[in-house]
Amino acid sequence: MAKAAKTAAGQGPARASRKGRWAFWAFGLGTGIALGVALPTGLLLLVGLLPTAAAFASDTHPDKTTARPVLYLNLAGLLPALKTLWLGGHDLAALASLLGDPWTLVLAYGAAAFGFALARTIPYAVLLVLEARAAATMKQLADRQEALREAWGDAVVEEANRLVARAAAAAEKKAGGG
């Protein structure tokens, strides 16, 4: 029984690990194909998508909420270089010329960094909005309570506390009975 529980508990991380390995091998296979079929493009991708690889490797979230934006923007930053490579003959010389231009990698890596920044800042912004909404609701409730206290005095607080205590006791009793 304990063994089964242990196995069940270990299934989640094991599945994630398998998925990570699969992604790793898929990425390696893709890169291999790219290097084999289109060596300059493959080399450009290999060098240009290093931040993405790092992001996927470090992102432990099952949905890869950080790695994906990094991937998308890393790719967007590398697209001008890919276009130049493809339109410029698609050979190693063109690749060398491109990689020799510091703006190529600055653009790709900078875009990846922007993607990383997006992935990290937007949740905070959302949290700020949610907290602001909650705070506004709580203030409304507090204002309502203050108005009630003003109109009915402290007795209303005592009565409300009594009601809450009674409800809690009833819930406890129900839970105990169930």
Partner: protein, 662 residues
Amino acid sequence: MAGREFEIAGYLVDPGRPLAGLVGGGLQAFAARPARGEGPAAFAVRCRHHHPPRVRVLERLPEPEHVPNLLVPLGRGWHGAGEEGPELHILYALPPGAPMMLPGERRAPLGETDLIQNVAKPVARVLAELAERGITHRGIRPDNLFRSKAGGPVTVGEAFALPPGFCQPAAFETPAMAMCAPAGKGEGTVEDDLYALGVTLLALATGQWPLAGLDDRTGIRLRLERGSLAGLVGSARLPASVATLLRGLLSDDPGFRPSLDEIALWPGGARARPLTARAVRKATRPFDFAGEQVLDARSLAFAMANRWQEGVKAVRSPALLAWLERALTDQQLSERVEEILAAESIGASDGDLLLCRLLAALDPQGPLWWRGSALMPDGLGALLAEAYAAPVPSRERQRDLADMIEAQAICRYAGEHLDRPGMLEIDKMGRLARAQARARVLGAGRERLLYQLNPGLPCLSPLVRRAGATTLPALLAALESSAAGSPPGGGAPTPLDRHVAAFIGAQMEGAVDTLLAAAGDADRPEEAGLATVKVFARLQRLQKGPPCPNLARWVAAIAAPAVATWHGKAARERVEKALPEAAATGDFSVLLQVLDDPASREADRAAFAEAAATFARASAAGFALRAEAPLRQAEAARLGGLAAQAVALALLGGTVLMLAGS
């Protein structure tokens, strides 16, 4: 005021013309005449507060035409204003002549026929008429029988302006009644009236006042030792028919006294059965009680009762039991005394109750003795009135009576005399009196007992004492006058003090007891104030009393804390504002409507409940919001991640489109 006539029940009473010899007990009688038209010449008896008249008897008396030989009140009313307030005056028609004999007087003896036909039979008829209504007279004595110089049947004088038997000299009472305090004799029975008639006949037959020259105690002891007949008649020579009648009337056993019907047919009925009395059981040797030699149980009880402290000491003496058993040879009494001593020795009962029980056992016809004073249990009310309502109330007497009630002496007395009629009622009365005296809530307690047992007693509250209020409307009026002062009631904290509350409780026969108790709850002033208003509102409504603005203002001030019983601030402000206006109307129902209007009160309660529920819901929502902070963080991470992916994807798409277009 002396000499200035005042009107009572259609008669003008002249306080400047006192009349002697018409009433006893230290009361004053004044000449009276009809105020309008014609009517019999009359006299008015001025009653005393602390010796209350027999109000219940006055209400049940027959019409004068049914008892032509009795002075029946023509009317009554209150008059006077002084330290003790107005006093009750009872009006009677003047009797046809002078009293038959004055105390201590010697007169020519009446003839046998005159005695039977004009004294015994008219008095018996009066007693029979009263007995039909369950009333005793308790004032049959020669100086209270009147007749004109022309002779004819006597007229029986008044006996209702004082507690029953109050004016009766000891010689005209049975030994047991004669032992009692004047105010504590109780209503008694027709047999007591018959005994008094017997002594009266004896006095008129011999022309001498019975037991003249002897003090009351000696007279009682003489009758106990020798029996009433021998003690009273002595060696006097009496006509045969009168002697036979007296032998019955003066019997110490009430069962041997002739009935009223027998007297009405006398001497015809006398021969129907012999009338004789049992002899007093004497001991073979005297019992030495503190130097006093006694030969019979009743005399011993009387001696011990009169020397209470020595009696308490002597009660456990083995000599007493030995004397009862060996000298008196009364085995039954000896066993009963032994039982009492054994029962009382179990607990730590004080000697007063032990002696009280012992005396009741020794003298089966005797009164209830307590600390040297005797009473018949139904005379408790008048004794309480005497102790509380006297111009200078006796604290010691009050304490003695309170101790007697608390010790259940009345119940114990009834328990010793279960063979006597009415003892179950006496036992019940004793228990109720104790329960009432023990009660501490407002409207109950000793004060309530006082008013319950004395329906005609004016309210003794310092607030209204001078007003002599004996009815609820009079009490309301008196309280209104008292409240008009500055400060109201002379600074008294409330118009509903213990006496006023007890008076109201007794008059309303328990209908407002709950409200009175609430009005006295000092721990809950808001409820007390509201209850006070309710009491007066009910009083005013039931009595259809006039407005009492001063009293209402006073009560409104007391009820001010009741404003706090309203939940809503707006409602409280409304009530506070309306209170003075309502009080100014003097109508307590208006005051109550402002303070406790049921519809508004219900609305206030419902709104308060809703507000409390809303408050509770808001609290719960606040708690929930605070508790959901981790959930919000997770949600923000999820939504933020999705948003970042969407933005990144959009930028990627835009870049593709831009590059494709360039």
